[in-house]
Structure formats: C-alpha cells, structure tokens
Amino acid sequence: MKKKSHFIALIYLAAASLCAAFAAVYEHFSHGVYSPFMVFAFLIPFIGGFIPFLLIGLLKGRFPKKLSFYLYNAGIGFLTVGSLMQGALEIYGTTNSLMAIYPVAGGVLLVHGIVLYLLQIMFGSAYTKAS
C-alpha cells in the first residue's frame, strides 16, 4: 500500500508539473494578461493529490477503496481543468455561465470521495466488506 500511495503521489506531482508548464507557456503568449486561475491551477493536484497520498504512504495510512479513490480523483480533475479553463477565458477576456459547473461538480465528487474514505477508516472491515 505504501508503494501504491507513493506511485499515486508521483502521478499527481507529474500532473501538477504539467499544469505549471502549461500555464507558463500559456502566460508567455498572453501578452502580459495574467489570470490567477491559470497561474495557480497546479496547486490543486499538488495540494489535493500529491501531499495527501504522500502522507498516506509515509504515515502508513489506509489506501482508499476504489469508489472513494475514483470519486476523489475525478473531483481533483474537475477542479483542475475548471481552473485552467477559467484562466483561459479570463485571459481571452470572456465569460461563460457554464463555468460554475466545474467547482460544483468537482466539490461534490471530492466531498463524496472524502466521506467514503472517512467511513472506510471509521468503520474499517465492516465498511470494507459492504463496499
């Protein structure tokens, strides 16, 4: 489980690096127009993915069950892509009301993933068997 946690942490680190590189290239060609959503998008997979899974590995915590893991990852994915899209729209100077769906969907997925993980920790094997 420790190896798996570190592997997932590394994937999140790679995703954060990719976001940072994408933002750097995008901002380079944006003629001095900056968006914090673009610049700081990398923090979402870094803080929301790399650090938690690194801690699970280091502290020998329980690795989340599949459903919790998938929902949590999807939440981070929605929030990260939403942040990059918001940055792109701001830099272009436009808006779209559909953008509100990213944080809502991302938040719901993230919370469900966390709640399921907490249930897994609190109720241990009983919950594990049920899932």
Binding site: G32, V81, E90, Y92, G93, M99
Partner: protein, 304 residues
C-alpha cells in the same frame, strides 16, 4: 463491481465532453438573439432634416484625401503620432450632429460569437471612419445600447460604461448605480461597456497600475474621447510588433490628455484594435500574437 471498474472512464469522458462543449460554446457556436432594428427615436430628426435640406440646396461633394474627409456635416482629420515607442493613429472628428456617431453589430445581428472584421462591418455600413467597439459578444453581462436600442440590460458589478447621449455629450457611469432602462429614459444614444474610463473632466482617472483585468503590459489600444460638443477623437495604437511596443492604459490616458480630451474611454484592445478610414485599415492590427491581420469583432463605432 463492473460499474466501479468503468467509473473512471465514465468520469473522464464526462469531463472531456463537458470541457469541449464549454470551449465550443464560448468561442465557436454562434447564437443570434435578435436582428438589428431601426432606431425607435426621433431626437435627430430636426438636425438631420436641416442637414438634408442644407445638403440638397448646396449638394457639395465631400472632399476626400488620404488623411482627411470633409463635407457639410462631417470633418475628419487623420494624424499619426509616435509616442512611447508606439505608432498612435488619431482621427479628429467634428460633426454637426451626434447622430453621425453610430455603432454597428457584425452581420446586423445581436448575439454571441457573431463576429466580422472591423473593416467588413464598416464597409457594410458605408462608414467613413470606424474603430472596433467593446466586443460585447465576449461577455454575458454589461449594458448593450446601440443607436438608441436596448439589447442587453444585465448589469455587471463594478462595470464602468461610456454613455453617449443624443446631444452628443459623454458621461461615465457605473452599472451598479443606474439601470439600462434609466439610461434609455435619460436619452442614451450609445452605451459602450468595456473600460476603464481614461479621462474625466480632463484629468487622468486611472492609476499607473490600473489595467484591463490583469493586462499589466503595453498592448494595442482603442479609445474614444470628446474634446467639446461635436468634437471627438477616435484613437487606436499599434502594439505587439517590432515597430510598436504598445501602450499601457496610463500612457494612453496621458496621450489623450495632450490632445485636449475632456472625457476618454478605453474600448476593446489587443488584437481587436483596428481603425478604418475611407475604405482602408489605417493601423497594423495583430491577430494570434504579432501576425498582422484583422481580428473579427462583435461591433464597431463609426462615423457615417
């Protein structure tokens, strides 16, 4: 258990499909909300009747050169300046009635992603002089009043607008403080919603660090100003090229102050900045970086 196995694929597909739809909806899919109608007002009827009577009596042809246009009601002089390592094009306009300051929408249609080049819209409307407008189509909020017709009344918090009244006067208003209908009732002829205001009462009204959103850099710019009743300036600067660095908003405001402008307002800049005069594009508009090509926009401000 089978569902859980394919759940990541489902979630990834939903995210990808939704993102593609948002991108297409924002930048590509045209949505026409209404077709341009004639102005419902008659405030200009007296002045225009006088002008028509006068022009019928004299029927003088306009005098047109590469840098000027003169007829009985419109005098335009085009000058090029070089300030802050940037070419700036200034059209000095004197008109007998503010009814000659007109706006036009791309394809005569109000909507989102309905665009055309400034020169094409200008040509379609027989404009003598034109500049790009506020690119209202890129926003979902902000008042849109054109040639006396109200197209959008959704207020944007903190948005400063330029109001051109029927009497030709300019006023800077905040959408937080007045509704679009109240502006119509007060005699608004044109309302442009971009900003910020550059000059008010002849004084620079922005700080050195204030920019459009996060554009803390020199860029191509478009602005409109009034010197006195019936006397206006249309200003466009180049930028993003080796010949022209571009202007910051503060530099643009300072430059317009030297022209004697009382009220000046910043319009959509960057790749949109375009000036058209007597059938030609005057400046060097940039699209997709520093490539010299006109960008398609939602609307123009023109004399014609």
């Amino acid at each position: 258990m089978k569902f859980i196995r394919i759940l990541p694929i489902i979630l990834a597909s939903v995210l990808t499909a939704f993102t593609a739809f948002v991108a297409l909806d924002t930048f590509v899919i045209p949505r026409a909300y209404s077709v341009v109608t004639d102005s419902p007002v008659t405030e200009f009827s007296e002045a225009e009747t006088e002008a028509e009577t006068s022009s019928e009596a004299v029927s003088a042809d306009p005098v047109i050169t590469s840098t000027s246009y003169t007829d009985d009601d419109i005098q335009i002089t085009l000058e090029t300046y070089y300030v802050n390592d940037t070419y700036v094009y200034v059209a000095d306009v004197v008109v007998s009635s503010s009814g000659y300051i007109k706006t036009a929408l791309a394809n005569d249609t109000y909507g989102r992603n309905i665009t055309d080049t400034t020169s094409s819209i200008a040509s379609d409307n027989s404009a003598i002089l034109a500049i790009n407008g506020d690119y209202y189509g890129s926003q979902e909020k902000g008042y849109v009043i054109r040639n006396g017709v109200l197209y959008r009344d959704k207020a944007e918090s903190g948005q400063e607008d330029l109001v051109i009244y029927y009497d030709g006067s300019f006023e800077i208003i905040s959408e937080d403080e007045i509704s679009a209908q109240e502006l119509i009732d007060a005699g608004a002829w044109q309302v442009l919603s971009f900003g910020p205001a550059l000059l008010e009462g002849g004084e620079v009204s922005i700080s050195q660090n204030e920019e459009v959103d996060r554009a803390m850099a020199s860029n191509p710019r478009t602005a409109l100003g009034i010197i006195e009743d019936g006397h206006y300036v249309f200003v466009v600067s180049d930028g993003r090229t080796s010949e022209s660095e571009g202007l910051s908003l503060y530099e643009l405001a300072e430059f317009m102050q030297t022209l004697g402008v009382e009220t000046a307002y910043n319009l959509d800049g960057g790749g949109s900045s375009t000036m058209y005069f007597n059938g030609q594009v005057v400046n060097n508009p940039t699209t997709n970086g520093s490539r010299i090509k006109e960008r398609s926009v939602s609307d123009i401000v023109y004399i014609g």
